[in-house]
Symmetry: C2
Subunit: 584 residues, 2 copies
């Protein structure tokens, strides 16, 4: 199963899609060339070492044997190399041994790693989230104890939120944390769906656990966040006794089968409070935002992988004469118009998602520097990256199967795995509905639509710039403008309706998220088109630039046009949804 | 894994969706009540015996051990009961032991059986197709030899088309048939992807094989159709020697894992020519039309199954407070607006597909009686049933996973299987692109759009009837009218463009099929709405009728609205597709 990291395409995005020219592609004295060199090296490692694991990982799966979690042998070796080469450290602060690269570069690295194998990529992804949470909410002592070895990849991290009765509804978490005399807590309870909750890839696993102290109020405001290491860490930094947290089983899953999804039993395990009591959910949200963004990037990653396989198969598989009669012989199927349509749809959705993700990374970096407007924009964009890119990955991986015809249904071909693997992406780290509620409730209604309108204003600026271009650019500007107006009309309807009928408003939340995500991706492709047109005028890399432009136009004419249906669902479909729901 | 056949809903469709009042719901002296009673009995058998097999069948799979094909033990018993109860005979002529029920009833039976287990349902489905082909193209002697025992379920049938180099492109078939002195043929070659190509459920397997005689011209017009029985049949009807056809392996598949997909090696196997030499493809098309229609019904079937599971889970799973604050406690997730939206979408797509399939069955019956216009309409509708219902089953089964959240990704929950099983439906018996080419090339361009315009005229009649109804009916009429006009505009564009640029026209073939399928389903739901409104006025079964109406309105406002994007893709997206294809 070959994979080539699309470095040229990724670097184009990093260079041209920062929030503004002033924000710059990369900051802190880092050169674009250095980012490119790092990603190329990662790309080689992933092509050579990680990508070949994905089939064997899927076939073998993570197994639970005699009480032990067993991963495919090749995973252990590959992970050791991954850590040794320092790839875990890429986005983290130099203070703790990180490379300190900007988030757009980190997003690209996440894409490359996950494209080569989603199951493998999940371990570093969760570690990144845990590092992020500790950086922002851990004490100095906690940072000293844990961060360096997590950033080096020596230790991994997990998120422990879900319990059997508490999935999307974290207020129902029952896991208990009893304070002990020494300032630690005894953590007890059952956590389920814990990604990489147990494994032997790293020396230690740092679990971040949501639990409830005895005096805590009921509901989500009574949750506290705890560090519960698999092995306790002695004062000198060496590993001490095994903590009272045990893996009792692994799930049998549709996809990402080599990633161990554990049921963890905490039985008075020693935990260390992170931040203040009862503010666990807030603190966990930090980790969740990083993880949600990264899961969105996983959607782009698996889409890219599916694209590469489909394109290769379409170039090689010979079947049927071209419909235009240009030859009497059967031709490679890439000559057939509907195969072209499928491949272009796959590519446009993938490039649109990538552009959205990398642009959002820029806003996240600006936000980190304390820019409040950037913080709002990042908060607005992250649920789009998470939900839009992952929902679209279902379509892209499905088309990837379809391009292969009957061969796509045969597991040995490998593309069915992408279809299975992708299916978790719109579910974990908050389902699409949870993202849509977050978008509508916290990011739109709460500020009366101010951020949403600012977003629309930025889209409009891109429209105006495109209107100054050639006929193709003007056509994209037209579609962007129509869709931006639909966005505004849906926004207005939602703001009006929410005050009167929350059920009606939230019945439109997912259509609104999909409309907004689609518009946001098209907007970034519009910006790509402007950048590519300028380069083309300079005669730079004409093949690549022509392709970027063609993809942006295709996106506007074939994918952005879906927003019309979303807008009608929101603004005219509410009564029929309510009536039909009464008859469910 | 429970399943309840939706008898009330199915019978409503059979009663109210025949092509015209004159055509009648059922013909040939058969009473509607008898059809209902037969389907209820089948429903009980499927709930009790077949549905519980689907999980075990998926887990065990069809295995190839020591040269033998081994199916799950429970399959053998269930199949024996299926045959003994006479279910295979339901749609076939009484002359050969069949029940002679109309095709709408047969479609309903296919749905019920396949909803309970797609893997199990495939064996009878292929037998039905083979029976159909022999009825229409076999000699009297062939009918006498094979039909009775195929219709009784004692013997099964297969379709042998595909070879490694010949999938969609049957002109590349290489399998050879050498004439022998006794009038038989020696058939040699390799066939792949043969569903139920080898198994022990039945005493004999009647393979229908496309092969090429020595004098045959190259390409699709040199194919002949042969009966190649697994065991040769003696003059007295007893089974003779084993024929030279061997299963050499089974595929490892994403889904329908208990259905054996065989590679068959023919090594001078004794074959009997069906119909004339070199007319095999025409003859096979008879079988393919039946099989394509049935595969479309499989799409409805797996959708219905997914709906039932999602609805049940949503009623039971308690998570989060309702957004409207109507209670402070966590509620069953069916109270959340987006879960309602997903469930309604699943239901509307399923009921729309079913209505389209059962209406099409009526046209097929009319066509069989020699009505040429009905034949054209049936030909127009079958690719819609095949492609639209199966493409939509991907969405419905995906939403079924999504409603279950993280539990949906766990194989033991069972709904991931529906997602995997469904994935073959838009591929086998002709991919969606093949259906779209068939629709556009043979059913639209060939008669200059005459049948398509007749179809639009019938939609318009339903619009007019709905305009005489209440506000809801008028709203559906409005959407139907808008969409019918889009259909007409796409049709006009395609007719104009095909003469100049076939690549451009066929680049719009799948969007055109999806637009037309969507409109056709909405049309049938519009007819359902008219029937349900009349019943409601009479006070009959008000709960059911209210629900039918609500579903039709929801469909028009949330699903039919997707046609706008398809229309834009066809009429305005062609240039961008062509440009981008140059840069693939």
């Amino acid at each position: 199963m070959t994979y080539q990291a699309p470095i040229r395409e990724i670097m184009f995005n990093i260079e041209h899609l920062p929030p503004s020219p002033e924000a710059g592609a990369v900051g802190g004295g880092i050169e674009l060339e250095d980012v490119g060199a790092a990603l190329e090296a990662l790309g080689r490692f992933c092509s050579d070492i990680v990508a070949p694991l994905s089939r064997v990982g899927d076939e073998t799966g993570a197994r639970f044997e005699g009480g032990e979690t067993v991963l495919p042998e090749a995973y252990t070796q590959a992970y050791a190399q991954f850590a040794e080469m320092g790839w875990q450290s890429l986005p983290h602060p130099e203070e703790f041994g990180g490379m300190g690269l900007p988030r757009a570069a980190a997003a690209a690295a996440t894409e490359i790693l996950n494209a080569s194998d989603l199951s493998f990529g999940l371990c570093p992804l969760l570690t990144d989230g845990a590092v992020e949470a500790l950086l922002l909410t851990g004490s100095d002592a906690q940072k000293q104890t844990y961060l360096e070895r997590m950033i080096s990849g020596q230790w991994s991290g997990t998120m422990n939120l879900t319990e059997p009765q508490a999935g999307s509804d974290l207020g129902r978490v029952r896991c208990k944390a009893e304070p002990a005399a020494d300032g630690t807590y005894a953590v007890s309870g059952t956590k389920i769906f814990i990604t990489y909750g147990e494994h032997g890839l790293t020396e230690n696993i740092i679990h971040l656990v949501l639990a409830r102290t005895p005096s805590a109020p009921a509901g989500p405001k009574g949750l506290s966040l705890f560090i519960v290491p698999k092995f306790l860490v002695e004062e000198d930094g060496s590993l001490g006794r095994r903590n009272a947290v045990t893996c009792v089983s692994l799930e049998h899953k549709l996809g990402v089968r080599a990633s161990p999804t554990a049921v963890l039993e905490y039985d008075g395990a020693t935990g260390f409070l992170v931040g203040e009591e009862n503010r666990g959910l807030e603190n966990m949200f930090v980790m969740m935002r990083a993880a949600r963004f990264a899961v969105g990037v996983q959607g782009v990653a698996v889409s890219e992988r599916a694209c590469q396989h489909a394109l290769q198969y379409a170039q090689e598989r010979v079947q049927s004469r071209p419909v235009d009669g240009s030859t009497k012989d059967a031709a490679p199927i890439i000559r057939h118009p509907d195969v072209q349509r499928m491949l272009l749809r796959m590519r446009a959705l993938t490039e649109g998602g990538r552009a959205l993700a990398i642009a959002t990374a820029g806003w996240l970096d600006l936000a980190k520097q304390g820019d409040a407007e950037a913080e709002d924009m990042a908060e607005f964009l992250v649920p789009l990256v998470k939900a839009f890119c992952t929902e679209r990955s279902l379509e892209v991986t499905s088309l990837g199967v379809q391009v292969h015809g009957g061969m796509g249904f045969i597991e040995e071909t490998g593309v069915a795995q992408f279809y299975r693997d992708a299916r978790i992406l719109p579910i974990y780290e908050g389902t699409t509905a949870i993202q849509a509620n977050d978008l509508l409730g916290r990011k739109v209604l709460r500020d009366g639509g101010a951020t949403a309108r600012r977003f629309a204003g930025m889209v409009q600026e891109t429209e105006q710039a495109l209107q100054g271009g050639n006929a193709q650019a003007q056509a994209v500007a037209k579609r962007l403008g129509e869709t931006r107006q639909m966005f505004e009309s849906s926004l207005k309807w939602l703001l009006n309706t929410a005050g009167k009928d929350l059920n009606a408003a939230f019945g439109g939340s997912v259509p609104f998220l999909m409309l907004t995500g689609n518009l946001a991706a098209a907007w970034q492709l519009g910006r790509s088109m402007l950048a590519a047109s300028a380069k083309l005028e300079q005669g730079e890399d004409t093949g690549f630039m022509t392709r970027k432009i063609a993809t942006a136009v295709f996106y506007a004419q074939h994918i952005l046009v879906e927003c019309g249906a979303e807008n009608l669902r929101i603004t005219e479909g509410s009564a029929s949804l309510g009536d039909a729901a009464l008859n469910l």
